[in-house]
Symmetry: C2
Amino acid sequence: MPFETALPMRKRDLLALIGRSAGASAMYLAMTSLGHAQPSPFRGVPRLEGGAKGASVLILGGGLAGLVSALELSRAGYKVELLEYNDRIGGRSWTLRGGDTFTELGGAKQTCEFASGNYINPGPWRIPHNHYAVMHYCHELGVALEPFMQLNYNAYVHSAKAFGGVPQRYRHIQADFLGHVSELLAKAVKADALGDAVTKEDAEILLASLRNLGALDKDYRYVMGQPSSERRGWAKGPGGGLSAKPVPSEPLDLTTVLQSGLWRHISNSLGSTHHTAIFQPVGGMDAIPRAFAPHLGDMVRLNAKVTAIRQDETGVTAAYTDTRTGEKRTARADWCICTIPLSILSQIEMNVGGDMAAAIGAVPYAASLKVGLEFRRRFWEQDEQIYGGITMTDLPIGQISYPSSGYGRPGPATLLGAYGFGAFAFEYTSLAPAERIARTVEWGSRIHPQYRDEFMNGVAVGWHRVPFTQGCFGQWTDDLRAEHYDNLCQIDGRIMLAGEHASYIPAWQEGAVTSALDAIARLHQRVMSA
Amino acid sequence: MPFETALPMRKRDLLALIGRSAGASAMYLAMTSLGHAQPSPFRGVPRLEGGAKGASVLILGGGLAGLVSALELSRAGYKVELLEYNDRIGGRSWTLRGGDTFTELGGAKQTCEFASGNYINPGPWRIPHNHYAVMHYCHELGVALEPFMQLNYNAYVHSAKAFGGVPQRYRHIQADFLGHVSELLAKAVKADALGDAVTKEDAEILLASLRNLGALDKDYRYVMGQPSSERRGWAKGPGGGLSAKPVPSEPLDLTTVLQSGLWRHISNSLGSTHHTAIFQPVGGMDAIPRAFAPHLGDMVRLNAKVTAIRQDETGVTAAYTDTRTGEKRTARADWCICTIPLSILSQIEMNVGGDMAAAIGAVPYAASLKVGLEFRRRFWEQDEQIYGGITMTDLPIGQISYPSSGYGRPGPATLLGAYGFGAFAFEYTSLAPAERIARTVEWGSRIHPQYRDEFMNGVAVGWHRVPFTQGCFGQWTDDLRAEHYDNLCQIDGRIMLAGEHASYIPAWQEGAVTSALDAIARLHQRVMSA
């Protein structure tokens, strides 16, 4: 019962007690803190009770939305067939390893040359603990998880325009920013400059809390000394034996920190989708689709390129081509859950109503590029003591993410050398793969000069050239959502859509899974009430 | 060459360039950011060159200081014998598993009943990435490391005196504290209340940085809405399909956050010894001493209780008792490195000078208690979505630390149910083990009511009752250090001391290892110059 939502009796008693004694606001706080009000709407897999009445469902697309739909509908008694374009399931939940090949739009073919055990995830790569639906399937299907190192204090923040282009350790920028901000506010408190925003009683506590946040000295100053060095790191750390006394490091001044712009990266780990605990599947993201496979038996037909989707009063027929043989075939079922990305679906003939058709055509797909690089050794660990985590930069590569596994291991290792969005991603994607990789190595060597000597090989996935998505994820705006989102998610005759594009969690697997769970629940309701 | 300190040529060029163009301050910054100025003084194992001249060294104590000394001295050609009191090496680097027994001072014997694969580390349990010396030996000896989850935003912060004793999620307290603090300072900036502490130019940047830090809205307010909910978590998180729109959560007000006192826990993960990346050995801390064992051959004599240490002009003799047979024996060598904790050493007859003797007697040992509890299931994960990390509380248990491994695994699991210091630790230690465990379960059930139904068994280690240390670690003060530290670390005739007590990193394995490396370097110098 890992996702039971009913509270045990003692908790209920406690809540009742709090409710009686402290009113609704305390009650809400208590509920929140007892885990009742939760960041994900996932409350367990919907119960599809009452049998399937012999109904059949055709599922288009074998990414996470399709896999979840197939698993749960077949468990509920539906007859399920799933068509998948690729020669593998998983969709964007995809891992590239040595020996894998990948041909993009335009025909450029890449062969991944990574050493055994090395990989990159060109698509999703992290699982936040609060993505409960994905966590549920990982637990249920036995996908081993390991922590993803989202924040590493010893990784760099970098701007070509600050510190002469020399990368800074995150811990220096973070400690110094928090220190100066705390000192400034403490000054304002002591000068009684905050008006009635803070009571006299609170002001005392606020001062203590600012000293705690900013590592201020007894006079509420952020200066060179033990408190600040214990945050940002010492110039010479404490050791053992004689001459072991630590030497403090000198903080950057406020102006330097502010004008560097590097403070903006402090918020990278503060957002709830990047909060610890955050995970990755051991060995690659495709461990998730692989864990679905044994449960799907012969429901899945690979290498099936859907060319048309036609519904009538009794069912839905999909025309598809077997991409290995060129053979044209059809599949038919009573209902269809289509998880094909809108970028592709908008190019496929399908007889749905005008509202859904308009929605399908309305959502642009974001550009994104990921480049995996393999190096002869883990120089980031060995030379720079960076074990996992992410270096942020304003260079076109966007970031460098070091592997969150195999720490300390000798031999070749891979890192994510570029993860770009927007204009840069479009530009990169327009280049040939070898050129994307060369530029990634060139940019990255500004941060890690070892790149030049240690680089072995790379793979570069520009999502707008990936045949099965032609883009990275559905890029909704508030206006687009207001006009189209509900129309996209409605049942249209016998067709429903699912996928990250049919969610409020774009680009995340959780969006795909929760959209599938919502779709199958509504489909089942429709079938049961028919 | 994993710890080479010489910079590759390109880095040197870069430094020279920066030095020329920007002066010393920029040079220092650049050196720091290129990893040259480092938080640990460890620069690799000292080279003990020139042979050992046939010299022999007697090492007393087989904790990390003793093991490092034995390994490196034997590699350098010294004849090494190591006496260890316990029937295992490792000292405080110790792991308790099912079937292990442990008898404390006073005679109470505990048998650990954990299921296979479960354990607790009663002593050190974390390895910060900046503890370079320990990291070096883990890498060299092949100790597999996995991330220790130091900070978990979904774990609790708890005070018996706040929120009616109801635990709060860390993410709520942290986001709301940073939010309100940022709003207050933004107000002061806009009211021009900071005087000349901030220039006009910086003020604009400061405002932007505060919005970024505090998740403020466009008017620099921290209020209920998307920005704050994306930090602290939503009341109802975003989902997929229809009804997927997220519902914001309501922040706590400033007074509530301040008066709760829970803001003090925000700094727990900001200190450099708790910065990510931070690790634990896979399977238990004793993986480190176990990795030394194959390299030490027959140098180690277990079950050897040292009763007297006597030096003369030609060497050092230790009298010891074989604790299995009661037999009294002696060991002799040219030199002695004694790593026995001062709490024990001060009770052993040893002819060193008055300065070292005074130092040995001067340092009190800190009290500490750790209680490991085993439960039928990972209710903290299953019911409360807490995967690893630490819940902080002002109850006597101090904290609850959830396992940083086996995430999602069914079946029994262990957590650290208490980690207390000071008065509470003394009080707990005075109780019988069963009573310590019972109280730990009782206190902990205030935070996790599931304790009552799911508890299986526990072990409780009160360090003042541990026969081989009689305390947790040497509790230096600034005054004690000024008077005694150097005297403790000097070579006294043919005797040297090493261990965490002979370091500026008390209680950490890094202190023991760096003190041993310093001791053997100075010993070797003495031998070479003799």
